[in-house]
Symmetry: C2
Amino acid sequence: MPYTYDYPHPALTVDCVVFGFEASKVLKVLLIKRQQPPYKGTWSLPGGFVQMEESVDAAAVRELREETGVSNVFLEQLYTFGAPHRDPRERVISVAYYALINLQAHPLQAATDASDAAWFELSAVPEMGFDHAEILDCAIARLRNKIRYEPVGFELLPTQFTLSQLQSLYEQILERTLDKRNFRKKLLKMNLLTDTGLKEKDVSHRAAKLYEFDTRKYQSLKQTGFSFEL
Amino acid sequence: MPYTYDYPHPALTVDCVVFGFEASKVLKVLLIKRQQPPYKGTWSLPGGFVQMEESVDAAAVRELREETGVSNVFLEQLYTFGAPHRDPRERVISVAYYALINLQAHPLQAATDASDAAWFELSAVPEMGFDHAEILDCAIARLRNKIRYEPVGFELLPTQFTLSQLQSLYEQILERTLDKRNFRKKLLKMNLLTDTGLKEKDVSHRAAKLYEFDTRKYQSLKQTGFSFEL
DNA sequence: TCAAAAGTGTTGACGGTACACCCATGT
DNA sequence: ACATGGGTGTACCGTCAACACTTTTGA
C-alpha cells in the first residue's frame, strides 16, 4: 500500500440532473426511485460512487449510461455539495452534473426496470432524498443562465426542429413569453440555422419549416469573438 | 463505527485561487511555496485537506485564513478537479475556490513565514505543482466572465475608489482597453456609485473624486430584475 | 369553413461606440 | 511652464421592443 495522506477520507459520489425535452411538450427532469437505504423508496437524482481509477467526469458519464441508458449527450459539471451531514450514513461529497437530452433521439431505457425511473415536470417534482432539491434548483438556475449566452438549447431538440419548438423551449426555461417576430428575426440574423428545405409532418395545421443548428459555423464564429446571445 | 459505504474513499482538499489588487497596480495571484512533498519547494495554490466535521465551503474559508491571514472576503466555489492521478501520492479530489482581496484593507500576513507566500502578476506565474495551472486558468476565465454581469470588481478595490482605478481593474481583467467617457457614463447612469465628496490624496496631478459602491441599493435593484452589466 | 399555428415589417426608443479638448494639481 | 492624469458631450448607428394581419393546412 502506497503512502496515503493522514487525513480523513470522505466518500465521493456524482449526481446528475438530467433534463429531457420532447418537442411540443414540456421540459422534464429524470428521477430514480431509490432501491437501497438511505431514503429507500423516495425519488432522487441518478448518481453513484466514483471509482478509484476513473475521473469524476468519467464517473458522471458512466452513471448516466448505467442508470438511463443514454450516452453522447451534453454533460457538464455543475457544483460540488459538501455539507457534513448531507448523507445520514457517513460523510459524502457529491459532485453534481447536469445533462441535456433530446428525448426523440435518446428514448429512456432505464437500466434496471422502467418503474424505477420517471420524468417529472419541473413544476411537479416530488420530495427527494438528501439535498437533491437544492441540487436541482442549482441546475435550473444554471441552465436558465447558460441558455442566454450559449447555444445549449439545441442539445434538447432533435437535429431538425421548427422555430416554434425552439421558442417554446426558451420560454419554458426562461419562464417568460417571447415575441414571435423578434425571436425569429434575431435567430435567423445570426446565420447559424440552416433551412433544411423540409417541413414538419403530421400536424393538423400549416406545416412549419425544419431548421438545423450549424455547430461548425458556430465554433468558427466563436473563435472570432462572436457570442450567441438571446 | 457507523456503517460506511463499501466504496473507495479518496482524499479531499480545497485549493484557493486568491486574486489580489492594489489600486493603481496590477492584478496578482497569491502562491505558496510548498514545504512538504509532493512538489516540495515548488509554488502552488494555497489549500489543504477538508476535515470531517466541516463543510467544504468552511474548509476553504479556514484554509484561506490559515494560509494568508485574511477572512471576510469574497470567496466562491469554482470547479472540482478529479482526474485520477492529479496527485502522485494517492487519489485526491480538489474542490477549487477563488477569492477576491482588496490588498489595501487586507494586507497579507502569511501565517507561516513571509518567504513562503508571494504575489505574482498573471503574466508571470511560475511553474506550479499538480494541475494548479489548469485551476488558475479556470479561475481567470470565471472572473473574466463574472465581472461582466456582476459587480464583483468592487471586492478588489478599497471601499472608496476612483473611476480610473475601477476602469484600470476592468481593463486588466478583460484584457482590453475601454473608452474612458463611455465607461464613466455607463457606471454613473446606474446610480450605484455614490460620490463621497472626497478626493484622492498624494497624487502629483489633479486629484480624482472618490466613489463608493452602494451594495444595499444594488441588492434591492437586483430583486426587481435589474442586472449589472458592463 | 373553421380551427390552429406559420409566417412576415415597420416604427420609435434606447443604448453602444467613436471621438478631442480643457482643467486641476504637483513638481 | 510642464507633465500627468481628471473630467466632460455629441452624433451616428445598430439593436430591441412593441405591435396585427395574412397564409397554409388538415379536420
